[in-house]
């Protein structure tokens, strides 16, 4: 229990106030870099990459679809790791990161499913097929929904955080099992000829913008996660003196600005 009592530096790292103030300093830089990388990837992928021989231009949706799917899954692990850190070291900031990560991951999962359906219509002639990867994505969406619903069900923030973290960890153990079993289930019911699980090799001209987009999505994810966490920090720490001072300072600058405007 007292094993980590000497790790004061670690706890300082986990102080919401410290995080809020420092992340505020990095935020403008991160935003600019994210914007540049995403814009580069999008313009490159949508305008300059060659059209697919069979699918024409509709394939370009992968520049959204694939990075979103990547981050949807990675996001679950980021959420679960944050929850585990919270449980082990009783770090409040970590719980806030976990709570913030859940809706972001859920939205990315939804984007992956939605873009998949949009792409599916011209390609397969239908919006929905029970393909292994689509089914797994849908289950992932349910898992996110469970963590979010559990967070909102508790009045007590402490109980919500711990319960959410435990559920996220249980989900983490289950995700590989779910993915493998859905994969297996799909091969059981589908003849191998229209198997879509193995990605066809891509031309480098198509592949490079995809890599840029994946990097861009990672940056974007980090940016949104930090913003969400900052909101969560303000909400939970609203009664502390440093947040009050922050709010008071903001208020005065706003009134000064308004007065200057009215003059």
């Amino acid at each position: 229990m007292n094993l980590f009592s000497d790790w004061t530096w670690f706890h300082r790292l986990g102080s919401p106030r410290w995080f809020y103030q420092n992340s505020g300093r990095w935020l403008p830089w991160l935003s600019v870099v994210t914007l540049v990388v995403l814009a580069t990837g999008l313009v490159w992928g949508l305008a300059f990459a060659p059209a697919d021989a069979k699918q024409g231009n509709s394939f370009r949706i992968i520049y959204i679809h694939v990075p979103a799917s990547f981050l949807a899954l990675a996001g679950y692990y980021i959420m679960a790791i944050a929850g585990a850190v919270g449980l082990i070291w009783k770090m409040k900031l970590s719980y806030m990161v976990m709570k913030s990560a859940a809706p972001i991951g859920a939205v990315l999962t939804f984007i992956a499913l939605f873009t998949g359906a949009v792409w599916g219509k011209p390609t397969w002639g239908t919006y929905w097929v029970w393909d292994a990867r689509i089914t797994s994505m849908l289950i992932l969406l349910f898992l996110y929904a469970g963590v979010m619903a559990l967070q909102y069900a508790y009045h007590s923030v402490d109980a919500a955080s711990k319960a959410g973290a435990i559920l996220a960890l249980v989900g983490t153990v289950n995700i590989p099992i779910i993915y493998k079993s859905v994969d297996w289930w799909y091969t059981l019911h589908q003849p191998a000829t229209i198997k879509l699980t193995s990605a066809p090799s891509m031309h480098p001209d198509m592949f490079q913008p995809l890599l840029v987009m994946i990097a861009g999505f990672y940056l974007f994810y980090a940016l949104v996660l930090i913003l969400q966490t900052r909101n969560e920090i303000l909400r939970r720490e609203r009664n502390t003196s440093w947040v009050r001072e922050l709010a008071a300072a903001k208020m005065t600058t706003n009134t000064i600005a308004n007065e200057a405007k009215s003059e």
Partner: protein, 227 residues
Amino acid sequence: MARQMDSGFLAWLRRDLLLAWRRRGEVASPVLFFIMVSTLIPLGLTPESTRLAEVAAGMVWVMALLATLLSVDGLFASDYQDGSLEQMLITPQLLPLPVLGKITAHWLTTGLPLTLVSPLLGLMLSLPAAGFIPLLWSLALGTACLSLIGAVGAALTVSLRKGGLLLTLLVMPLYMPVIIFGSASVSYAIDGINWLPPLAVLGALCAAAVALCPLAVAGALRATASN
């Protein structure tokens, strides 16, 4: 040490079995649910036995899953209300052991009866003869998994007033592998393929659940019930 462990597991197992015996009517309802919903299938789908046979295995499995889900909600609820859960949290025994005792009692009073009546449903839904033995085995192992995983959801929602629906939401995605391998072993047998491999996977899932779920339940109970 072994004696101490026994006392935690067996005491709670015996108590929950006795309680179930006293509430026989209530305990029977998942089984009745299982049978009644299965009679809806021919009404909603078709009375034609060839078409029923195609979906029988999957349907029996889905019904068993829903019946377990209905009953697992009450696993810790009454203990939470009357203070027994609080007493469980402060027993000197390692908490996962009493928890495992309770889950075992739950399986013996829901999963096992469901398994035992499943051949009847197989008959009603014209399940091909080859599917009966795998159905029994897969349900016996599978419902144990369902009880174990469901207990995690029950523990996470025990202190919430309207936890029942939320529990369903939390647990359903975790049930997917169980239903995939459970119904697959039955359909393998019907198609004349060796049905032991999917059953073995189910057994592996069950073993992993026995090892991990009581730990997760204990953690969840400590985190939520004590607040």
